[in-house]
């Protein structure tokens, strides 16, 4: 393994740019009345579709081909049909939502259960907390994760601390907040953000991000059933792009459990959401080009995260006053999540083992390696 391997010398053909740069330079304004819009694939990494197995158990029962937004609708449908207290609310959810996640639910369950709120995020989350305090199931939608910040006070100071501060006399455990998340190729500053690290510092809430339709439904149902306030981020670029067989009936994927998608011995790659599909490709490349064996892990739950799965490669020493999770994962999240205005937001946590230290001297190298690859 040459230790001087530099990302700049990495073979170009592995870049999947659509259209190729040459096309961008040579396309002249056309005399036609419409401006040319060549087909542009924002996410050149084919989403990995899992075999129909959950926790190494094959899924039984009827399945249906669903994309990610349909699997969300399916989870919400299951919830409303089984839990008469459950309500869904947010901006524009009544007509089906701007991403089609709530289509048909209002007609099926009534306008008192699926309804629009005024355009006010702090109100939406505060209202959801109140619904949950009475014991009813509240499923709030924030239209884009980018617009969750007006509700930051309600989430961090209220929702997260409700049970603790009242000595468990009151809680808002039946609250779930859903929000479209992550880059979408053309989202600019306020339709691309991945704010999970802000929430990773906040004890009392759970933060969950799925990588696929099958994962999304099982994890969302777990969030809704969980007795703690949960934030569920849905990778919006996969709403239509990712399609797989999803069970029609409810099923659960446990929270706070990472999933090893690929065993490896040299280096551990960890990601969540859309980025899982990127690091799977990276693992293949690393194997082919460098002979490096990568372990690929989908973290799935950002808080409280699965320390055992991720830290088995390299034990970490905790010694600080801040909450455990903020102390270890979040600084990494905060420091290695570069925000690229092209719309690529890449977060990858790397733990190295001794045999790879010479080649991949630190995680920044791999970060550069992968970012360069997908830009």
């Amino acid at each position: 393994m040459p230790g001087s391997c530099s990302p700049l010398r990495f073979p170009y053909p592995l870049l999947h740019l659509h259209p190729p740069p040459s096309a961008l330079f040579h396309s002249l304004p056309s005399p036609l009345l419409h401006f040319p819009h060549p087909p542009f694939h924002h996410f050149p990494h084919p989403p990995y579709t899992a075999p129909l197995r959950l926790n190494n158990v094959s899924v039984a029962g009827q399945t249906q081909k669903m994309n990610l937004f349909q699997s969300i609708t399916s989870a919400l449908d299951n919830t409303l049909s089984r839990d008469p207290t459950a309500v869904i609310f947010g901006e524009d959810v009544a007509f089906g939502g701007v991403f089609r996640c709530t289509v048909g639910l209002r007609d099926k369950y009534g306008k008192d259960r699926v309804f629009n709120t005024p355009l006010c995020e702090q109100g939406i989350v505060g209202f959801g907390i109140g619904v949950a305090v009475t014991g009813a199931t509240a499923i709030a939608e924030i239209q884009f994760a980018d617009y969750i910040f007006p509700a930051f006070d309600q989430i961090v100071n209220e929702a997260a601390k409700y049970r603790y501060r009242s000595g468990d006399l009151f809680n808002c455990g039946s609250l779930t907040i859903r929000a479209p998340w992550g880059c979408v190729g053309h989202g600019g500053l306020y339709h691309s953000q991945s704010p999970e690290a802000f929430f990773a510092h906040c004890p009392g809430i759970k933060v969950v991000i799925p990588r696929s339709p099958l994962q999304a439904k099982g994890l969302l149902l777990s969030c809704i059933e969980d007795k703690n306030p949960c934030i569920f981020f849905e990778p919006k670029i996969l709403y239509r792009a990712a399609v797989e067989q999803v069970p029609v009936e409810p099923y659960y994927i446990p929270l706070s459990q990472a999933e090893v998608l690929q065993e490896g011995s040299d280096v551990t790659l960890v990601a969540w959401g859309t980025q899982v599909h990127v690091i799977r490709e990276v693992a293949t490349m690393a194997q082919e080009k460098l002979g490096v064996s990568c372990e690929v892990i989908d973290l799935k739950t950002i808080l409280p995260w699965d320390t055992e799965a991720v830290c088995k490669v390299n034990r970490m020493l905790e010694n600080h006053f801040s909450p455990h999770v903020s102390g270890s994962l979040s600084p990494l999240l905060a420091s290695i999540g570069p925000w690229n205005l092209v719309g690529i937001i890449f977060v990858c946590v790397i733990f190295l083992c001794h045999s790879m230290v010479t080649v991949l001297s630190n995680y920044r190298w791999v970060k550069t390696f992968v970012t360069w690859l997908i830009c």
Binding site: V87, G123, G126, F127, G130, V133, E158, P203, P304, H324
Partner: protein, 431 residues
């Protein structure tokens, strides 16, 4: 069929003929405004709407400062025992407030709100009529003493453990309780510091009650300063559009810490905002317990019957300092405070009223004062003698279950205390 119909729609130009043809199709109906955003007539004269702040929304009162009923039609005709319960509840917080600042510095409560706030009296909000009380839910930032027995009042002040609340984690005066022993009819949702963050939550709870057909209303208290927060705007607007049975109870006491209302708002107080949200609103004399009672009773009845929010602005004056951390003489005159304390106080006004009815006299007053002071001091002493909750409760209730990383932290503290326990005040805490 013109030639332009063959073009894609975005290239069709509005030709003069086309515009003309549309104008000819106008009917008289279209002379009325058709905008979806408001229901109003046109006006052909430029005229800005002027706020009326000189003569604002009038202040409803039932009795004058001598406790005399002004308009007999408005007398709620409360039974003697009910009025008595108001009177005997009300001095309690005052006694507590009087005791707390004087006991500071002796290891007593480190912090408190040392003042009485107007609140709808106990019989009303519980629907209490000598029968089984029906439950209500209140969201408040401050304790509502008439509704809270002394146990939950005293314990948060001392951060002591209680059977119904095994870990008092908040700063003093932040109550959470379910009435006596944690199971009573009254549920003050836990107080919170960021004001008025409870306001939209109260609306959500009211919505859930409505879906439950529970015949319950929610009441939410906040001050005129908190009403400037975005959460207040959110709560008012959601309550109206989602048709929730909720009472917004604003205590307008003239100050938010040191900030006078002239620096808080320029409209006609808080009550004038209600109609802008489509909320039925009223302004009452907050030092007149019967006026507060009447307004709250009627608002509650209608909120439940009609599923709509009500806003009550109780005008009052903050006699005490903002808190024990505040010296209010730095921003207002002692004379101003004395006027309200001596001339227009809710407790003395109710006392006048009861004396006028022959329900109360000097003798009863003396014995009540003695008794209530004794009760409060006993409660304080009991609380002081109690141990604080076990340190392990620092880690419970963060989540419903305890995640592994918190378990590890808890174990780490236990190990640490085994080694270095002598450096910590462990004797004051339960094992």
């Amino acid at each position: 069929m013109s030639e332009s119909d063959a073009l894609p729609p975005h290239l069709v130009l509005s030709s003069p003929q086309r515009v003309l043809r549309q104008q000819q199709e106008f009917t008289s109906l279209e002379e009325k405004p058709q905008f979806p955003g408001a229901s109003a007539d046109f006006v052909d004269k430029l005229d800005f709407i002027q706020p009326n702040v000189i003569s604002g929304i009038p202040i409803y009162r039932v009795m004058d400062r001598q406790g005399q009923i002004i308009n007999p039609d408005e007398d709620p005709q409360l039974a003697q025992e009910q009025v008595l319960s108001l009177q005997t509840h009300d001095p309690l917080p005052q006694t507590i407030a009087g005791s707390v600042p004087s006991t500071r510095g002796k290891g007593r409560p480190p912090w408190c709100f040392p003042h009485v706030e107007p609140a709808p009296p106990w019989p009303e909000m519980t629907g209490y009529r000598g029968r089984q009380p029906e439950p209500s839910l209140q969201f408040t930032r401050l304790p509502q003493p008439p509704w809270c027995p002394l146990i939950p009042i005293r314990s948060p002040c001392y951060s002591r453990a209680e059977p119904h609340n095994r870990a008092q984690r908040q700063s003093p005066a932040h109550l959470a309780g379910r009435g006596e022993g944690g199971s009573g009819p009254i549920s003050p949702a836990p107080c919170t510091n960021p004001s008025p963050a409870t306001l939209p939550a109260a609306v959500g709870a009211a919505y859930a009650f409505k879906r439950d057909n529970a015949s319950r209303a929610v009441i939410c208290y906040f001050g005129e300063g908190a009403a400037s927060e975005g959460d207040a705007h959110a709560g008012f607007n959601f309550a109206a559009t989602l048709e929730c049975p909720i009472l917004f109870f604003c205590r307008n006491n003239g100050y938010a810490i040191s900030t006078p209302t002239s620096e808080q708002y320029r409209g006609d107080g808080i009550a004038a905002r209600g109609p802008g949200y489509g909320i039925m609103s009223i302004r009452v004399d907050g030092n007149d317990v019967l006026a507060v009672y009447n307004a709250t009773r009627e608002a509650r009845r209608r909120a439940i019957a009609e599923n709509q929010p009500f806003l009550i602005e109780a005008m009052t004056y903050r006699i005490g300092h903002h808190s024990t951390s505040d010296d209010s003489s730095a921003y207002r005159s002692v004379d101003e405070v004395n006027y309200w304390d001596k001339q227009d106080h809710p407790i003395s006004r109710l006392r006048h009223h009861m004396v006028g009815r022959g329900w109360w006299d000097e003798e009863q007053e003396k014995s009540w004062r003695k008794k209530s002071r004794k009760r409060v001091m006993e409660a304080f002493e009991q609380a002081e003698r109690k141990l604080k909750p076990s340190p392990q409760h620092l880690f419970s209730d963060v989540y419903c279950e305890m995640p592994s990383h918190l378990q590890k932290q808890q174990e780490a503290l236990a190990r640490h205390l085994r080694l270095y326990g002598e450096h910590y005040p462990l004797e004051h805490f339960e094992k």
